[in-house]
């Protein structure tokens, strides 16, 4: 039987996850809750935390806030300021290879390398999202009317991917073959990077705010509908012409957060009413993990082993769900 251990948090949960085995909750009130051997509440930002992302090794958390700071939080509660842009709201973050961090505000993105050097990447229109490629030092910046692929370590010209409209969040497929953006319209856009083939994934009643690649990158699970929508990315043409899986269908609430299990073909879903369940790809079998609460689930994440799941909501609720006692 799954058990839910509630965790007290002081605000909107911007991101929940694990630093190694330590659950963390980064909250809108500027605090990071670390549930290590001795639980800690750290004030990482003067104002609020706008974005948080674990480093690629998942040993530290990078946070950014409306105080213009980018902070690194260690699993033992160590705090270090990595960068600062006074008076800017830093609301986009990505963690890259070898301790690099990308962050953005307005139309500008920056990459900070582990040695502290910073590079600036200016765009003509608003930056919507940041993502590092799975291999190599390559940064994707989604923006209005497309995306730009930068090589931060070389002075070469960036690759421009064009598609009209406002592109928000961006991610690479784990094999690096596809780039996917969530748009201001309720749709995903994708590019097959080998030939820049465009793909549109539509049919959502709401914006896609959460996504997660399944084990081995077979499916991209997404929020934004009354079930999790999982697009197949195996095969030569990816999702083109394919029907996605629809898991955890409910008539009365939209899926707001998704997290694929690290090993099994199972996805955890959080809904607008706070319910959390998991569903198996094969037969859509569902297990209820948390009953509805006060507000939409804003973040969900599995630990490395896939035994524990953390969740947080917009209404300052959070918890750790253990699948086994």
């Amino acid at each position: 039987m799954p058990t839910v251990a509630p965790v007290e948090v002081g605000g909107y949960v911007v991101r929940a996850g694990f630093l190694n085995e330590t659950p963390f909750f980064a909250c809108g009130n500027g605090e990071v809750v670390l549930l290590g051997a001795a639980p800690r509440i750290l004030t990482a930002h003067q104002g609020g935390i706008l974005a948080a992302v674990p480093t690629s090794k998942a040993d530290c958390l990078i946070t950014s806030g409306d105080d213009g700071r980018i902070m690194k939080v260690g699993s033992e509660g160590e705090l270090e300021q990595l960068a600062e842009r006074p008076r800017k709201w830093i609301d986009l973050l990505a963690a890259g290879p070898s301790g690099s961090v990308a962050f953005a505000s307005g139309r500008t993105a920056w990459v900070r390398l582990a040695d502290g050097t910073e590079k600036e990447f200016a765009h003509e229109r608003a930056v919507g999202g940041l993502a590092f490629a799975p291999k190599g030092m390559r940064l994707a910046v989604s923006r209005y009317d497309g995306a730009t692929l930068w090589w931060p370590n070389t002075a070469g010209k960036p690759t421009e991917l064009s598609w009209k409209g406002a592109h928000l969040e961006v991610c690479f497929s784990p094999d690096g073959k596809y780039l996917v953006t969530a748009m201001q319209e309720n749709a995903l856009h994708g590019w097959r990077l080998s030939d820049m083939q465009d793909m549109r994934m539509t049919g959502y009643p709401a914006k896609i705010k959460s996504w997660s690649w399944s084990a081995k990158g077979k499916y991209l699970a997404t929020s934004g509908a009354n079930s999790a929508i999982l697009w197949p990315f195996f095969g030569k043409t990816g999702p083109m012409g394919q029907t996605p899986l629809q898991l955890g269908v409910r008539g009365d609430s939209l899926v707001t957060a998704v997290a694929c299990h690290p090993a099994e073909d199972v996805v955890a879903l959080g809904y607008a009413d706070g319910m959390v369940l998991m569903a198996r790809f094969e037969d859509n079998a569902e297990v209820l993990l948390r009953r509805p609460g006060k507000g939409p689930v804003s973040s969900l994440a599995w630990d490395n082993a896939g035994n524990r799941l953390v969740f947080g909501t917009e209404e300052a609720e959070a918890g750790v769900i253990a699948l086994q006692d």
Binding site: Q46, G48, R107, Y144, P205, A225, M240, T243, G251, D252
Partner: protein, 370 residues
């Protein structure tokens, strides 16, 4: 397993502050931020410039106009506002209301449309009022030179005529007359150095249509309407939820939210003084006539309609129906039961350019129930 809806959450009121450069927006903003009124505001400014206040909820935002991918030229929103409002929602509880200051030359339509068209913004916040500050001394010249000044007045729910000490009584009357001609439905206040009671500017519930429509000179005889709650913002906005998920290479998606329509003509009038308003009155309406009509009107004349607002009475419907719109966006919802003894008439107001008033009047009248 019993499922429950997520509880209703309060929408944060948003005041949009517009006005031509030098009209006194910053002065008003500084007053709002320094006066002791017990409210905490998050403020979105276009430039930190002269806002001399250290407020951690003060953010600079570069105007980012997003066109919606539906081919409709007037369906634009402010991407920067969507982003900032979403960021503010992570600190819900740290403030009571939001103020958006626009640049002097900003088009108010995308700002207002953001609060209708973006679902996340609608869920989190509601447009309380568009407040336009005008400089009594220069506004007539601005109106002659630009269309932005006229748009800002046309969009306003509240107009602050500032710097009245710099003009004569006659000039002031002239200015007021000119403003009234563009927008007779806004509440006018006069001020020197923006010294007004802030209660007259903030938390107006300007979408309380009762109040707006009661200001229409034609309706004054019906007496005063008490302040009531505004229309519940549970807008019924014709989402076509395409639940057939598909992936293709083409962009031929039918993005038909909010009754947007295309294929309009764009008549640009050379005369910048062309914004006018009209109020239409009818008895009980036939909804089967009215909805196709309003869709068609906004489809064809959307670019010329700056704002529309109305309270409607449908035949055999115990509830009042409220409607409002910006350009091609129209949305409406049942508001509350008609009260006993209340005048059950349908009232609709348009503010716009180059609209054929006679045709509108006749076609609206044709929507009356038999």
């Amino acid at each position: 397993m019993s499922a429950t809806q997520s509880p209703e959450r309060t929408q944060i009121p948003v005041t949009v502050l517009t006005g031509y450069l030098g009209a006194g927006k910053t002065t008003l903003l500084n007053r709002i931020l320094t006066e002791n009124h017990g409210q905490k505001y998050a403020v979105i400014v276009n430039e930190f410039g002269e806002v001399g206040i250290d407020n951690d909820l003060l953010v600079e935002s570069d105007e980012e106009i997003f066109e919606m991918n539906n081919g409709c030229i007037c369906c634009t929103v402010r991407g920067d506002l969507i982003r900032t409002v979403q960021n503010l929602m992570k600190r819900r509880g740290a403030f009571d209301a939001i103020i958006v200051e626009t640049t002097g030359v900003a088009d108010p339509a995308p700002v207002a449309q953001t609060f209708f068209m973006d679902d996340d913004v609608r869920k989190a916040s509601r447009l309380d009022a568009v407040v336009t500050v005008v400089d009594a001394r220069h506004v007539l010249q601005r109106l002659a030179d630009t269309s932005e000044a006229e748009d800002q007045i046309a969009f306003a729910d509240v107009i602050l005529i500032n710097k009245t000490d710099l003009v004569s009584a006659e000039e002031l009357a002239n200015v007021e007359g000119r403003i009234r001609k563009i927008n007779p439905y806004a509440v006018l206040h006069r001020s020197e150095r923006c010294a007004v009671d802030l209660k007259t500017v903030l938390d107006r519930g300007a979408f309380d249509l009762d109040r707006i429509l009661s200001l229409d000179p034609h309706f004054l005889e019906h007496g005063h309407h008490a302040h009531e709650c505004g229309p519940e913002c549970d807008h019924d906005h014709d989402h076509h939820h395409h639940h057939d998920h598909e992936c293709g290479t083409d962009c031929d998606h039918d993005h038909d939210h909010h009754n947007h329509h295309h294929g309009h003509d764009h008549h640009h009038h050379e005369d910048p003084h062309s914004v006018k308003s009209i109020s239409l009155v009818a008895g009980d309406l036939n909804p089967d006539m009215f909805f196709p009509w309003i869709n068609q009107v906004t489809q064809v004349q959307g670019p010329n309609i700056l704002r529309l607002k109305g309270i409607l009475s449908f035949k055999d419907d115990p509830q009042r129906y409220v409607i409002q719109g910006v350009h091609m966006i129209v949305e409406g919802d049942h508001q509350r039961d008609w009260k006993e003894g209340e005048d059950r008439s349908s009232r609709l107001v348009f503010i716009g350019r180059d609209l054929n008033w006679d045709v509108l009047k006749q076609s609206f009248a044709a929507c009356q129930a038999q």
